[in-house]
């Protein structure tokens, strides 16, 4: 058999052909990077993937654009169905906000480079909301921390935590290092998060999930958490918010929830019969403190400039809930309401009639991107409120603005009142 050893890494014939440049310079570059990374993670071989989701599409500056164009101009084309994460600009709507042309032009060029490689222009961090989903045990290569944790945990697919620049190398070679979360032995739960002590009214509170994710992410240090004992059953939007929060405050690529996620039908399965290495038992006071910690520079009753929803991108069911909450009401003239979502979900929400109530309320939508990935906010917007732990976590550093965290209902009440208004009922 045509194969070779590079360190302890075994490459087969087709891998070597790509590495030699038989399929062009772009694919050679991708395979060279992939092989170096396989050595870094001490993989013995590469495995086939069936799909990919690309976070490298995010424009960060000239280097990410040069990387994309080197691949595309070198003839690299994806070998598996590949979706695209958010980009650096709302392709058709950026002029409605404060995005400078000097940013929009190269960001659009980067979008074109990834489309030229054969990726589907989905432009969303939540591809699982509208695209075909990988099945349990399916080997894929996903980027975007919030999507990775969803794919592994909620869908039971297998992806390592692929950083930007590597996800596309997997997609154009169809290969990934056989390491990390691709391998069953690395998917076993380590930390038990016992939620049985939480009061029922907190268990019924949707904002519990981002807060809990934030709290867990800070404590597990990359080990796989297993949640159990909550007196409520989380839905998909709850798990989306939970995972995104864990993957912001911590390096979490997979969690299990006993009786909820596919690899944890019971505690034994989640821990493979072993004892948890660590047990955590968050109480009401700890989670209340975590909720307050998500805010930065804003207190209750402070004035607001923007309420922003949709990180990860707002789902159709979230639009349905929001439409009910804002129906017949009107935002305060001093506060804008922005929802970030994907093109496909926006179309579905319009079709379902949800956007009528939201637009009458004074809400605005941005697609393809989000407030963290495109410089869209005018300087006059200084005070934000959100129900997303991910937005709350990154806003102080990336946007240098104050932020308050609250539930979706709190966010709507605050948009009407013009100031931070939070219902503490579930938290006291």
């Amino acid at each position: 058999m045509d194969s070779t050893e590079s360190g302890s890494l075994r490459l087969d014939g087709p891998d070597l052909a790509l590495l030699r440049g038989d399929e062009g310079e772009g694919t050679r570059l991708a395979m060279a990077i992939l092989v170096r990374m396989a050595e870094v993670v001490e993989a013995r071989e590469l495995l086939d993937i069936t799909a990919a989701h690309i976070d490298s599409s995010l424009y960060q500056g000239p280097a990410t654009l040069e990387f994309a164009e080197r691949l595309a101009e070198g003839g690299a084309r994806v070998r598996v169905p590949t979706t695209l994460n958010v980009s650096g600009v709302d392709e058709h709507g950026w002029r409605e906000w404060d995005v400078p042309e000097s940013w929009a032009a190269p960001a659009r060029r980067q979008m074109e480079a990834y489309e030229a490689m054969g990726c589907e222009p989905t432009w969303t961090c939540a591809p699982y909301q509208t695209q075909p989903r990988p099945g349990v045990g399916e080997q894929v290569a996903w980027g975007e921390s919030s999507a990775i944790v969803f794919a592994n945990s909620v869908l039971g697919a297998r992806t390592e935590r692929y950083p930007d620049l590597l996800d596309i190398c997997c997609a154009v070679t169809g290969r990934a290092p056989a390491a990390g979360l691709h391998l069953a032995e690395n998917r076993v739960g380590r930390v038990l998060v016992d939620l049985s002590g939480l009061p029922r009214r907190l268990a019924q509170e949707p904002a519990l999930y981002p807060v809990l994710g934030h709290w867990v992410g800070l404590r597990v240090e990359g080990r796989i958490p297993v949640l159990d004992g909550l007196r409520a059953r989380p839905g998909e939007d709850d798990l989306k918010a939970l995972g995104a929060a864990m993957a912001s405050s911590g390096a979490v690529g997979l969690f299990h929830w006993v009786g909820v996620t596919p690899e944890a039908p019971d505690t034994d399965a989640a821990f493979e019969g072993r004892e948890p290495a660590t047990r955590l038992r968050p109480g009401l006071a700890a989670l209340r403190a975590a909720r307050d910690e998500l805010g930065s520079g804003l207190s209750d009753a402070d004035g607001l400039d923007l309420v922003v929803l949709g990180s990860p991108h707002f789902s159709l069911s979230e639009f349905a809930t929001l439409a009910r909450l804002v129906d017949g009401r009107r935002r305060h003239p001093g506060v804008r309401l922005l929802i970030t979502t994907g093109r496909a979900v926006r179309a579905l929400a319009r079709e379902a009639g949800y956007l009528d109530a939201i637009e009458s309320f004074g809400g605005e939508l941005t697609v393809d991107t989000c407030i963290l990935t495109t410089p869209m906010l005018p300087g006059s917007i200084r005070r934000l409120m959100t129900n997303s732990a991910k937005y709350a976590w990154y806003t102080p550093g990336l946007l240098e603005r104050a932020v308050a965290f609250g539930s979706l209902a709190d966010c709507v009440e605050s948009a009407v009142a013009g100031r931070v208004t939070r219902d503490d009922g579930a938290w006291s």
């Binding site: 500056g61 280097a63 040069e66 975007e144 692929y162 990154y394």
Partner: protein
């Protein structure tokens, strides 16, 4: 006291020179500079300004410090998968750390350096130390990194840290 600890670390790691910390070079290279150390993981996205090298994660102990041309010692990256892209931009602009040292291997930092080497022919070394070796960096003001993956402390040890 500390020198004894350090020697113990070195001995365990099998290093030859006094105080030399032997690690694994994920990306090889040589560098020398002031050590910027934190026991707290850092996401470069939302945490490191590629335009200036400033650490901008307001919740991080190193917030406001500048990582450019330093030996940046953090236990690991966390969170966002865009950390790699931010570090790549910083390398291109010349605002990246001179070397990156972590507590165990960090694939995100290694990837950025590997891509930079492919695109620009240059990259900062990325070194994984064992936990004891990494923790010893807390008190070291200045260090040299060599192609073998060793980190050699330079200058007087800071007893206050």
């Amino acid at each position: 006291m500390f020198r004894n600890d350090l020697r113990a670390v070195s001995d365990r790691s099998g290093a030859a020179g006094s105080g030399r910390l032997t690690g694994r070079a994920l990306v090889e290279g040589a560098a020398e500079g002031a050590v910027l150390y934190s026991a707290e993981p850092l996401s470069f996205w939302g945490g490191y300004d590629a335009a200036t090298g400033e650490i901008i994660d307001r919740r991080h102990p190193l917030a406001g410090r500048n990582g450019a041309d330093r030996i940046l010692a953090i236990p690991a990256t966390r969170g966002s998968s865009t950390t790699t892209a931010v570090l790549l931009e910083a390398i291109r602009r010349g605002t990246a750390p001179a070397a990156l040292v972590t507590r165990g291997p960090d694939t995100f930092l290694a990837l950025a350096a590997i891509v930079a080497a492919q695109l620009y022919g240059e990259a900062p070394p990325v070194i994984a130390l064992d936990p004891e070796g990494f923790d010893a960096l807390r008190r070291i003001p200045r260090a040299r990194v060599d192609a073998a993956g060793a980190v050699t402390p330079l200058g007087a040890v800071d007893q206050r840290r």
